[in-house]
């Protein structure tokens, strides 16, 4: 509920400021936003269906065991591997992450999962090599994997 209030007040505030500064720009901004929303709404609904199904099928005890606070290195490893090899669009990964949290996964494993998902790409590695060469592409992915694990550890300490 808190979050919703943040979003509503912030969007009302920015719209007002923007409207006072430039009416035309504000309207085209709204249109742009609407277009982006339209683009994601169907895939988003699909993923919500999928998450609801998966959360029903996968028992919470299993999530707690493998991704919960007590899962330690195993939890990190699972999160890192899944995050690195899968190619899930960002906006779709958040409902999944939130579902995992609600079912008992720890903040650190979720942070590792989200970070590797965003920063490490095994599937896209061949493409990355074409752009940056083998050496740089491998190094970037390795370093980011390390960064993801550090982030997970620190998030575990903070939250």
């Amino acid at each position: 509920m808190n979050n919703v209030l943040i979003f509503i007040s912030f969007s009302v505030f920015t719209s007002l400021v923007s409207f006072l500064l430039d009416r035309q720009k504000t309207i085209s901004g709204f249109k742009k936003g609407l277009k982006m929303f339209k683009n994601i709404v169907i895939p988003f609904l699909n993923i919500l269906i999928l998450v609801s199904l998966l959360l029903f099928i996968i028992p919470p005890q299993m999530i707690v065991k493998y991704l919960g606070a007590g899962s330690g290195a195993v939890g990190f490893a699972i999160a890192a591997v899944v995050g690195s090899v899968t190619l899930i669009p960002g906006f779709i990964s958040y409902p999944i992450a939130s579902g995992l949290l609600k079912q008992g996964a720890s903040y650190s494993t979720v942070a590792v999962f989200m970070t590797t998902l965003m920063m490490v790409g095994v599937v896209t590695l061949p493409l990355e090599i074409k752009y940056f060469g083998k050496r740089a592409a491998f190094l970037r992915n390795l370093l980011n994997l390390a960064v993801a694990i550090i982030i997970g550890i620190l998030i575990g300490l903070i939250l």
């Binding site: 979003f7 504000t26 901004g29 742009k32 936003g33 370093l143 982030i151």
Partner: protein
Amino acid sequence: MIKKHFQKIKPYIWLFSFAVFSIGSFWLGFDPGKTIYQSFTKSFIEMITFIPFLFIIVGLFDVWFPKEKIEKHIGDESGVKGIFTVIILAMLQAGPLYGAFPVAYILYKKGASIKNIFIYLGAFSTLKIPMLGIEIGYLGLNFTLSRTLVALPLFILVGYFMEWYLKGKNFKVNEV
């Protein structure tokens, strides 16, 4: 002709099957189906209460801070200002990481340093404004803030490391 129609309805197949499944579950009193439907409605409400507002913000950002304008300045600045510019540029983007590679090529062409190219990629993967918005909505402000504040120095460090390691090894970004 049939194929064309199929392409049109393809995105809705999941939704349609799910609707049928849910109605059927309530009709027949199939409890697992009811539970799944309830969990879906919960997450649907969760989403619809903030995502539209997020896109208002993102759309406004897009018209007030056009990426093209910032892209123009890449390569001119160095030091902290250069780092700052690539991070801001990355924050205004959207899409998956492989969509950032062509932009990295543009940065390279414009004379951005190795360090800044990789800082850009780091910022792109973790600081995009639309993504931050969704993250706050789903995982909370605390999580998002901590993750961002931890990640930011780390990927700047990665940038420095990449530059230190790749310098003099004729590193280049290719057009694909």
